[in-house]
Amino acid sequence: MTTKIAAAAPPSTLSQLVLTWVPFSLGMTFVILGAVIAPDVPHARTQYSIRLALLLAAPALFLFARDFRRRELGALWKSYWTAAFAAYAFHLWYGYEIMFRGDWAAVVASQGEATALINLAITALWAVDIGCAWLDLKGRIVDIIRAVAHVGLLAAAVMATMLFFRNNIAAGIGGIVTLAAVAGLIQRLRTT
């Protein structure tokens, strides 16, 4: 049995920008400027940026769950996946440089070595996957990296949701991310 890979209809440049660039830009504006009125700005920016990253990753996870190895993931997936990574990169940079004062040992001590390394691995895979997407690289290894990056992010989001379940916003965003992936899977199964 062969898998038929069909190209997804590419959205127009404008609709792609409105769907991905606009939420990213507005989200980052909120992350940077909206946090100015927070009692602890570094903490707020770190917190807001991970929430933005997960919200932007949700559509990408949906598209991934629905289309991966069925058809081209498409420009929309690439845009969401990249925008989410950009927000995540801001989260990492701000968290590491400002919150942890650039002290890797403190990161390890605070999160535990395993968690810190897993987070680092997911970040690296995510970055490599985005590089592959933009260079239009394909192949088995790319597929593996892509799958691990997506599943890793989803798992991290679910774990974080459980950890911060008492925080309604964190729980809500974790729920959205999970639902997005589940919805993608359901749609995948329905169109089999």
Partner: protein, 1009 residues
Amino acid sequence: MTKDDHSCDPKKIQITVKQVLDQVGRDLFDKEVASAATYSYLWIADQMGHIGLGLVVVFLASWILYFLNLPTAPDSYWPLYIGAAAVSYWEFSAYRTYAAMTTGLFPAGKLLLARNAVIAAFYMVAGVVAGFAWQGGELMAAVVTLSLVPALVILAFPWLRQKIVWQKAGLPFLFRLSNASPTISRSDARDLQNLIEAQIKESRRNMDAVPGGPVIILSGPLGAGKTSMACGIGTECAFGDVKVRYTTFEKLLQMAPPPADDPGPSNIIYWPWRDSELLIVDDIDTETKTTLDVDVKTFCDLVDRVFGNEEHCLGRRTTVWVLGPKKSADLAKWSDAIGKICAKGQERPPQVLAIEFTPPPPAPAPIKPAPTTPVLSTSLVGKVSRIAGWAIVVLSTLLLATSLWWLGAERGWDSRADLSEPDAFRYGTLGLELAPYKLVAVLDQLGGDAFKRIPPGGGAPMNTGHWWSDFGFNAGGPPTPSKKCPLPLGFSISSLLPQSATPVPVDFAGLTCAACHSQRVHTAPQFGGVDRVVVGAGMTATDVIGFGDALKQAVANPALTADLIQTTYAKQCGESEGFWQRVIGDKVEAIFISQWISGFRATTLSDSSKYDLPFHGTALLEAGGIGAGPARTRPFRSVVRNNLDFPGATNLAYSKPPAIFEQSRDLRPQSQYDGSIVDTVTRSLIAAYTSGATQAALNREPIAHNVRAAAHYTETLGPRNEVPTFAKLFPAVSAGDPATLAQGETVYMAHCASCHGHRRADGTWDVVTGASAIHRTAPLSQMGTDPARVTFRYAEILPLSLWLAFPGSPEPLPAAQRGPVCDGKTQELPAGYDALAQQRTALDYLKVFAGFSGDNVLYQYWAGRRTDDFEQARREFPAGHALAFGPKLVCYDTTHLGYYNNPIPVAYLRAPYLHNASVPTMRELLNLDERPAQFCRGNNLYDPVTMGLVAETPAAGAHCGAPTPFLFDTTLPGNSNAGHDYPWTRAQVAADPNLKADLEALIVYLRTQ
């Protein structure tokens, strides 16, 4: 007409360096509105653009890194790496796009495309390198740029030569065969490719051009791609260094008689067709059924007639003939005829390749318009949607750009983290920003009734000319080079938001260490009229709490607006300077000030339900009001409020801010009156925290730096550096004769040195000789002084609660650490010590303690809210709070309540005496004089003879007036002036004149301490 005639034989391309340079010169000099465009010029412009793009990219990368507070040029190579990667990716993408555009009919020719992408990337990277170097100083810029130029020029030469070769062919446009539409058969394409390769190979192999060559005939209808194919053949051959010439049939006929030729534009000069190795003849037969049309017989007659003896020249080279559409039989006739023409005068007949083009695919049918109304509305909606969509994209991009700019600009607005120790003490922000600078600067105008200091008994309000001197602040505030209205000493001017200490483009005023720890010493004329501010001495006139309450009242005035503040400031202190500051800066400032006013009012209101309404007017100066009066604070009311979040209203632990001279740990192992804090930095941290600085603010590096620097400043500050000695400050007052001094020293050593040590002759402080009781807690029962300072509610839980407010580092200690702690012992923290785990254990202890004591509410407090607070703080400061302190650096010993015996350097600047400032003079403290039960406090004069403040006692029933409007009543709770009856009680002194003489001598001696 002979094969021996070589006058029209093809010739090899010969282009010298000079010719290339001449072409470059012409290209650079030409005006594009007055001369033909050339490919060589286009290539030069292209590479200049690539260099420019590289410059833009590297500068952009540098700026973004700078804004993000990351290492950037010239210190870091990251802009170089990022720029090089970005432009390389750009060219790689372009290569991929063009490589993907091949139709498959002909080979892709990727090698040339790749070389082109590489050279473009090289020029862009050169721009990146140059841009990076230009950020690193003039020398680096010059060296790198000059090094790049030769490489760029050398690399340009072969490409410029190629462009010249191509443009001299006279081809109407550049076309690569790999992009040709599939309108010819694959076999024809293959044959054509073989012929082209053979032509190129032959041209490269031979030193001289070889006469003769195949005949290629292209035939097909309009739009089938014949001319493109002809140009493609010409382009491929020209890129293969074959001398190509393109012309139309009509033009060829005109150029038939030698030496006629069409040289083309003067800045190009086409190859003469007679020299060409490949001749392309276009538009032979248009098949338009007009007079322009020719049939095969007419064509042959024309060529024969026009070329005559020159006809053999056509066959001396490879030729391409472009015909209109022919039926197969007709095309065969044409091929035969052209073949014969080209065979004339040749040794053997040429190979003829006739290629027939198929008609181009029909254009797609136009889309039928939909019914009128929906189309119009859909079109309108679509247009509006598109416009709205782009507007949103542009707007969001602008917002993002503004945000990123803001993020970078925050560094510029942030306070310096390198203030010197004295400056950090005097002017450095401690995260105690109170109000916009502009408001504080014009409180004389906008403070209203809230800032009028009216004595309780009525009479004229205090009026020293400034609100700040009315409240006891002193001149000598922060340097304000661009600010025209100065603030008093004890204020900082920073661009940090109150509470969060976030950098913003608006100045705020806040309190510094010097607000409470500086003293104006001013005397009556008979003592020399001294008037000097001594930094480090405790304040004697400043009403800090009163100022805070007055500010709350003033801001609550509904008439106070950002516009009023800005307008008043502009009138009093001058307009804003600079166009952008006026156009944008003032608007942004107005937004922040408005928000601050709203927030401040809301906080005042919400706080009042728990902390009670702030006082104002006369109540600021009444014992029944705030109660502290000038020069005293209620630090534990504040710490109970800020740390425990309880009201603290019943806390009467009035304290004067102490003199903070010579606070080094060897002299003063424990700070505070009760010795409850060990480390000076922790002491300063808690002082700032108690005064209202948030944990988040104190975690910011500029503020943490100021706390540390100010703390260190106090360790050495004293008469050995900048603090004036008694003799220096009061030269008009006798220093005492040697006999009196010796007598005083004897008394001191006998009765004071055991608890306070003494100053040696060399100026250092001795805490060993005779100091048997120093660095110990003198029990309350022994001291007899007011107990409120050490017995207030919650005192026993505050140390641990304060410790928990500043989560420690999550990193276990790498090695054991030893250090003194507040019980006088030395503590050893083992390697692997986990501060966070210890703090969690402390939380558990507090819960258990509350449970055992049966305080269910307190248990819930620790188990619920404070546990949540701790976990939240741990998340906010995941690397540990910048000023987190170790265990047992703050403590409270319920078994040894009392006051801690410490040195008393610069004793004369410690008036009024006792921790609650209840004894105005040294004479009264030593019981030489009766301690007054009531006295007036405010801006009191200093009396060097009594070594204290001139504090009048009002007549019975009378009130205190300006400038000392506060009635200090020692009979009120927290104000007791009892205790510390050393060396002798008042009764003993009164009864024994010898003791009086000893004490008189002691006072003289104390002036030297």
